[in-house]
Structure formats: structure tokens, C-alpha cells
């Protein structure tokens, strides 16, 4: 990340300020905490299924004769 961008995050993100000096992706954590536990469970299923469909598509593409 460029120094300027880091500065912007420090200025705008309360979560970022709370953890300044660590390498924790606090903005990502903050997004997660804005959801309910059930919403996070469903988001996890969606991500894993999307990942699976991407892997399948890649395998299919790689299997095609060129």
C-alpha cells in the first residue's frame, strides 16, 4: 500500500486507528462484525460454493483440448 493510501485509511477508519501498528485487516474485521452470526455463516457457505464453482470452471477449461 502506498504511504498516501495508508494515511487516508488512518484518517478515515476508526477501526484502523484502533489497531494502528498491527498488520490486522481491521476494515475486514469491522465488515464482519457488522453482520449477525447467521449472516456470517451464510456468507461463508456462499464463498466456499463460489470457490468450488471457480475451481470446477478452471478444471473444465484446462481439460479442453487446445
Amino acid at each position: 500500500m502506498r504511504e498516501k493510501d495508508t494515511h487516508i485509511l488512518k484518517e478515515t477508519g476508526t477501526a484502523y486507528r484502533a489497531s494502528a501498528g498491527t498488520d490486522i485487516d481491521v476494515l475486514f474485521l469491522e465488515d464482519g462484525l457488522a453482520l449477525t452470526a447467521w449472516e456470517r455463516i451464510q456468507a461463508n457457505d456462499d464463498i466456499m460454493n463460489f470457490g468450488e464453482s471457480l475451481r470446477n470452471a478452471m478444471e473444465k477449461r484446462n481439460a479442453k483440448p487446445r
Binding site: 484502533a18 489497531s19 490486522i24 481491521v26 452470526a37 461463508n44 468450488e52
Partner: protein
């Protein structure tokens, strides 16, 4: 297709005595890191194990990684089990009789909180005990999760939640 939410619902509906632990519990506490399985700590009584079998009966439960072996519990088998690693049509579920650094089901349940989900009430290991368990495991991804959990704890203390 993975549907860990539905897997959890089935356990609740079958009245399985269990506590969510591991990455899925971390997710419940707010850690946004994807997980491909449910880890539960459960009572390894014959009755409870039979409830698990019944909850998963129509989604083809097999032993993991020995997926050629379907789940077929008998009283004799139940008596010898300490952990049960299963794969189903809806995802992977690891049933553990004991949690490293914490203890058995009775101990884990003492250190759990009840969560009200749209699919029913469910117990989740509390954040402090999850940190203890993850620190005891101390794998690379455990250390990352511990770091996130500690950060979440700080926020909760600040916001008074």
C-alpha cells in the same frame, strides 16, 4: 454443495448435545475467515451419537478421510469412539469428544454461550475459551484466528458488548 448452515440446523433439530468450536465458532464470534467444515464438541454417549447419525442419515454420511466407509454406528462402536470425522453431501463435520487445552464436553459446555439463530438455539464456545483452544492447537491459521479474536475482544470491551 456446501451448506454448513443446514448441517447446523439438522443437529439442532435432532437435539444433539453439542457446542460449536473451531473455525465455525470463530466465524460466529466475528472472524471473517472461510471454513470448509464444522467442528463440534459433543457428548460421546450412545444416545447422542445416534442422534447425530439420525440427523445426517439422508445426506450420505461417510467417515473422513475413509469415504468408502458409510457411517453405521452400533452400541459397540459408540463405546469405543473418542472423535468422529464425517463427510456429508452438505459438508464436513468433525465431532470431538475433547478440546485440547479445555477438556471434555462437560467442561466445554461450561465455557459456552447460547446463540439464537434463525434455525434455533445453539451453543458456541465463548471467545476466551476459543482463544485458549486455538492457542493450544497453535497451527498457522490458529495463530491468525487468535489475533483476530483478540482484536474483536478489544472492540467488544470498548463498546461494552
Amino acid at each position: 454443495m456446501q451448506n454448513l448452515g443446514e448441517l447446523t440446523r439438522r443437529l439442532i433439530a435432532a437435539q444433539v448435545e453439542f457446542v460449536l468450536v473451531g473455525g465455525f465458532a470463530a466465524l460466529a464470534h466475528g472472524v471473517m475467515r472461510s471454513t470448509r467444515d464444522i467442528d463440534i464438541c459433543c457428548r460421546f454417549s450412545e444416545a447422542n451419537l445416534m442422534r447425530i447419525q439420525s440427523a445426517l442419515a439422508d445426506i450420505h454420511p461417510v467417515h473422513n478421510p475413509r469415504t468408502d466407509l458409510p457411517l453405521k454406528l452400533t452400541p459397540e462402536r459408540c463405546a469405543n469412539l473418542k472423535n468422529l470425522y464425517l463427510k456429508t453431501d452438505l459438508g464436513i463435520i468433525d465431532c470431538l469428544g475433547e478440546i485440547l487445552g479445555v477438556g471434555n464436553y462437560d467442561e466445554v459446555v461450561k465455557h459456552s454461550v447460547e446463540l439464537e439463530l434463525p434455525i434455533g438455539k445453539c451453543r458456541v464456545i465463548d471467545i476466551d475459551t476459543l482463544i485458549v483452544a486455538k492457542e493450544a492447537m497453535n497451527r498457522d491459521h490458529d495463530r491468525i484466528t487468535v489475533r483476530d479474536l483478540k482484536e474483536i475482544k478489544k472492540w467488544q470491551q470498548k463498546s461494552g458488548s
